[in-house]
């Protein structure tokens, strides 16, 4: 009889627990990361009698979380990928917006600049046209500087966000280590039973951490969760935390990197971190911002260099050869902060067509220098001496003696160059629109010889601007050229052939007669000639980048397309990642999520079972009364 009572009471207690758990589930239906719980019931061992085992009720063995480890891990990875792509998309989208904006981009100022050059070509002596050209050149240079400023401020933004991310990651790893501790204690107190709600909270913290940085987890036997990040470095081991530290880049004080502090050593992680917002930030800086700034700088350098080279081949209104029109920015070079030797490397532009927008690392092996692409790590060039000058990737690199093996330098070919593009001249009369030399045919010539427009071959020729007189001999198969240096030996005449002298080239067509005279003369001051202005305007379609295959406009277009494609790709990845996460979340919810209808059904079921258990107790009373009344008689 007592057995039946205890069976009834065991059922009553078990269903109380089930109802309580159902209530807990309903209460947490909207709790982020909550895993539904289930009461596991087992029947109590019966009492052995001669006639067999008589059951003695039910007991609760444990309360389990209905969790799928795989689903939890998938969500963790999803969080990592999602934040990485979202961070990348947000920041790349900003670069894309800047470059796509007509009021910020280069397309219009470039067109206006070339139009102003054309304006000078149509009316070279007009001071208004010249002033307009200076104005448009300044506008263009200003636009380059603005874009570079935007890029610089994005770099600062990356620094700021890195700092914030590191702070949040360190807080989370502390919390997880703390949670490991609490879980171990709780398990001890509950005799090894799982502290379900603490486990849920820890999973949620881990997921949060994964959205900041890519991680892998391993569960220890005692229930503690160890967390590893890039390169297998431990962030959390049981209750021990290795914090992340923000460090300055080896070469640039104005950019931050990431390192892991283990004890007293700092392990650099910048190049290895992937996943999470942190991975997104570093990937944005490495794959989007730096190349974009490099490409922009390359267009600026090529513009300045090409324009200056052509400008030098003309003559200004004072009759002087053209000086620099733009200030050409210089390549950036920095020694690593931990170099042992003194700074010995100087870099200058050698060939604009060979330039890339890349950043290079140069390392001294003790006997030779290795130039590596910072992006790919591939060796671009090797220079087999400790000092000297070599050219690679459009750069001329001069190395003085004194380097110590292991010394490193960073060479930023064009990154940041756009910020220092400036117009070098302020006096509009200094714009060299005229060709430096002109030709004349004497009116007294008897023959039909016609001299064409001169072309400048070598503007550095000291004799370029000398008056040169070409006189045809008798018979006119040869001619001599006389200038203030004397008279040349007779030169054979070919109709239309190139006559190269003093750095210029002319052609004479027709049939000159003996004694016919032609002259090559310097262009006078205030000349209305536009020979050089036309060549300057032609730069608009000239291939100057990538070995002469791409125009400046094309180079800028490629930059816009590149960033646009990256932004597009990031957006597509976010969309794809959203779908994947949605799928994984649904899967996790289908296993672990609370369904209120199901809980309602369970509630009814447990309630009925509870009522039935109460009936068992009532029944024992009835049975007992029956016996009592039988005895009383």
């Amino acid at each position: 009889m007592a057995d039946l009572l205890s069976t009834g009471i065991s059922a009553l207690l078990a269903y109380q627990k089930s109802l309580a758990t159902t209530g807990h589930n309903i209460a947490n239906a909207n709790t982020e990361g909550y895993t539904r719980q289930r009461v596991e019931q087992v029947s109590r061992l019966g009492t052995a009698l001669g006639s067999g085992f008589i059951g003695s009720g039910v007991e609760v063995s444990t309360v389990t979380r209905v969790a799928d480890r795989f689903a939890t891990e998938r969500l963790m990875f999803d969080a990592s990928n999602m934040s990485q792509q979202e961070t990348l998309q947000t920041l790349t989208g900003r670069v894309d917006k800047i470059l796509s904006d007509r009021n910020l981009g280069l397309t219009d100022p470039l067109s206006e600049f070339y139009a102003a050059v054309d304006g000078v070509a149509t009316d070279p002596t007009s001071s208004a046209a010249r002033q307009v050209l200076l104005g448009k050149a300044e506008l263009l240079a200003g636009r380059f500087q603005n874009l570079q400023n935007e890029f610089d401020s994005l770099n600062l933004e990356v620094n700021r966000q890195l700092q914030q991310q590191v702070g949040e990651i360190n807080t989370l790893t502390e919390q997880i280590a703390d949670m490991n501790d609490r879980i171990a204690i709780a398990r001890g107190l509950a005799g090894g039973q799982p502290p379900n709600d603490l486990l849920d909270q820890r999973d949620e913290l881990v997921r949060e951490l994964a959205s900041h940085i890519g991680i892998a987890t391993v569960t220890q036997d005692d229930g503690a969760l160890n967390i590893f990040t890039a390169g297998g470095n431990a962030l959390v081991l049981g209750t021990t935390v290795s914090p992340l530290r923000l460090v300055q880049d080896d070469f640039n004080a104005d950019r931050y990197g990431i390192a892991l502090q283990q004890g007293n050593t700092l392990i650099p992680l910048t190049r290895f971190v992937s996943g999470g917002s942190l991975g997104g930030l570093l990937s944005f800086r490495r794959d989007v911002l730096d190349p974009a700034a490099g490409d922009l700088g390359r267009v600026a350098v090529a513009l300045a260099d090409t324009f200056n080279a052509q400008h030098a081949e003309g003559v200004d209104l004072y009759g002087d050869l053209g000086g620099d029109f733009f200030d050409v920015p210089a390549p950036g070079v920095s020694a690593a902060t931990n170099n042992d030797g003194p700074a010995v490397v100087g870099v200058a532009y050698d060939d604009v067509g060979g330039l890339t927008g890349e950043t290079y690392l140069m390392r001294f092996t003790g006997s030779a220098w290795e130039l590596q692409s910072a992006e790919t790590g591939d060796t671009v060039a090797t220079f087999g001496a400790a000092s000297g000058t070599f050219t690679a990737a459009g750069l001329s690199i001069a190395i003085a003696a004194g380097a110590v093996a292991g010394d490193r330098y960073e060479i930023r070919a064009t990154r940041g160059a756009a910020g220092s593009l400036d117009v070098a001249i302020t006096d509009a009369a200094r714009i060299a629109a005229a060709a430096p030399v002109r030709t004349e045919a004497a009116l007294a010539n008897d023959g039909t010889g016609v001299v064409g427009r001169p072309e400048v071959l070598d503007v550095a020729d000291a004799d370029l601007l000398l008056d040169a007189t070409i006189v045809f001999d008798d018979p006119p198969g040869t001619f001599t050229i006389t200038d203030s240096n004397g008279t040349s030996a007779p030169i054979a005449f070919t109709v239309g052939g190139n006559i190269d002298y003093n750095g210029w080239r002319i052609q004479i067509t027709g049939t000159p007669a003996a004694g016919d005279t032609f002259q090559v003369l310097p262009v006078a001051a205030n000349s209305g000639d536009n020979g050089n202005a036309r060549l300057l305007a032609d730069i608009r379609n000239l291939g100057v980048l990538d070995g002469g295959t791409r125009s400046l406009n094309g180079g800028y277009g490629a930059l816009v397309a590149q960033v646009g494609a990256q932004a597009q790709q990031a957006a597509q990845r976010v969309a794809a990642q959203t779908a994947i996460r949605e799928h994984d979340q649904s899967f996790r919810d289908s296993v672990s999520g609370v369904n209120l209808d199901e809980e309602a059904a369970n509630m009814v079921r447990f309630q009925q079972a509870y009522q039935a258990s109460a009936q068992i107790i009532a029944l024992t009373d009835t049975l007992f009364q029956t016996i009592l009344s039988a005895v009383r008689r």
Binding site: A29, T92, D96, K97, S100, T107, D108, S111, E112, Y114, A115, D118, G119, T122, T125, S126, A434, R438, T439, E440, A441, L443, A444, N445, D446, R453, V523, A524, N526, S527, G528, D529, N530, R534, A537, D538, R540, N553, G557, A558, V560, A561, V563, G564, A565, Q568, A571, E582, Q585, S586, D589, S590, G593, V594, N595, L596, D597, A600, A601, M603
Partner: protein, 404 residues
């Protein structure tokens, strides 16, 4: 059937609604801007194609501006050359008018007075500017008037450079003609040789018909015809290898009869005296101003004697020949200018057609197709409403509603 968590039902419904809203916003943005793409990320290829087309269009419009500057200057030059033609024709009329024996020296003085005015007019025309201070006939030295009267004639301070203006890719035209080429480099005489009488002649011999009978036989040297008596003459080549060389010795003079030598045929009229000299020399460049000046000088000669009358006639004879050469030359230059204007209009016409084409292409890559966008807007609205309504229906369902 997998079980579904209540939370998931809400989450998915809300995600669906947010998704529809963002696509609705996108269409709305396109409709308000009229542009297909807001940034390069929407379509990197089309966006940068648009940038390249922008640049091409800016370039074309620049060529149009260049062409209109060139057109203006060529029109000014064309009209100046037209006026020069008028001046030469008037000068020629005056020359013919003054060349008759019926006029007295006083009558000729009036003609000379008008000629002087025409001469000044010619200098003015040669100093034509384009209204912006650019002198059309100055070559590269176009900041100052190129022609100035000096004691010895009219001097040229311009240079011989042409200025070229880009009116299309790889297409340039000169926007003027240097004064040296327009007014100075003009061959005198008949273009091959010039037939003159020595001003010191004492007889009344005049220049008769002269022509190049055989262009291949003329060697470009100078020949003198000297009367050895009133009826006989010698012709001597005075330049070239082996000169002097007599080519005709003891020729008999008949008035107006052609005398031929070395591919040249000349005739002498009137009554030459012994020792009178007539010369055939190769043509040389002579500027238009000298030509008119020579005419003025000839008509200013007093015609008191038969010898001085002959000298006047001979001067006018040479001036008329030179004027014809000048007229020819100016017409040629004018035709060149006309040709350039035609080429310019052609190029601009072709570029305008290209401009329209490029605009169309640009519109294709950049502008929104409104019909398509509006239908997308409709679709986005419909699906958004459907998501919202289905959410309202589903969220009302719960077993708890039935547990009373």
């Amino acid at each position: 059937m997998p079980r579904i968590a209540t939370d998931a039902i809400y989450r998915q419904a809300v995600a669906g609604i947010l998704d529809r809203q963002s696509s609705l916003l996108k269409v709305q943005q396109q409709l308000t801007t009229g542009l297909k793409h807001t940034t390069a990320a929407d379509s990197p290829a089309e966006f940068t194609q648009g940038l390249a087309l922008d640049q091409r269009l800016a370039e074309l419009s620049r060529y149009k501006d260049n062409a209109s500057a060139a057109r203006h200057r060529l029109n000014v030059e064309e009209s100046a050359l037209g006026s020069v033609t008028g001046v030469i024709q008037r000068v020629r009329e005056l020359a013919v008018q003054g060349n008759t024996d019926a006029l007295t020296d006083v009558d000729r003085r009036q003609i000379v007075a008008e000629l002087r005015q025409q001469f000044d007019q010619l200098v003015n025309l040669a100093n034509q500017d384009d209204g912006e201070g650019n002198f059309i006939f100055a070559g590269g030295n176009n900041g100052a008037a190129p022609f100035a009267k000096t004691a010895t004639g009219v001097g040229y301070s311009g240079d011989q450079s042409y200025r070229y203006i880009a009116i299309g890719p790889e297409r340039e035209i000169a926007d003027g003609t240097p004064g040296s080429e327009a007014f100075q480099r003009i061959a005198n005489g008949n273009g091959t040789f010039r037939y003159t009488a020595d001003p010191a002649n004492t007889g009344s011999g005049t220049l008769g018909a002269a022509r190049l009978a055989d262009p291949s036989a003329y060697d470009g040297e100078t020949y003198t015809l000297t009367f050895t008596s009133a009826t006989t003459f010698d012709v001597v080549r005075t330049t070239g290898p082996g000169s002097p060389a007599t080519v005709v010795s003891g020729g008999t003079y008949t008035e107006g009869e052609a005398i031929g030598f070395s591919g040249v045929e000349i005739a002498v009229g009137g009554t030459p005296a012994t020792g009178d000299v007539f010369t055939v020399e190769p043509s040389a460049a002579q500027d238009l101003f000298s030509t008119v000046q020579n005419l003025i000088d000839a008509l200013s000669t007093s015609t008191g004697t038969s010898a001085s009358a002959a000298q006047m006639h001979n001067g006018v004879y040479n001036a008329l020949e030179d004027l014809d050469r000048g007229l020819d030359h100016i017409q040629t230059v004018r035709a060149t200018v006309g040709g350039r204007l035609n080429a310019l209009e052609d190029t601009i016409g072709a570029q305008e057609a290209l401009d329209v084409q490029l605009q169309e292409t640009l519109s294709g890559v950049r502008d929104l197709d409104y019909a398509e966008a509006v239908s997308r807007l409709q679709l986005a609205l419909t699906t958004l409403e459907a998501s919202q309504q289905s959410f309202l229906k589903i969220q009302g369902l719960s077993l708890f509603n039935f547990l009373r």
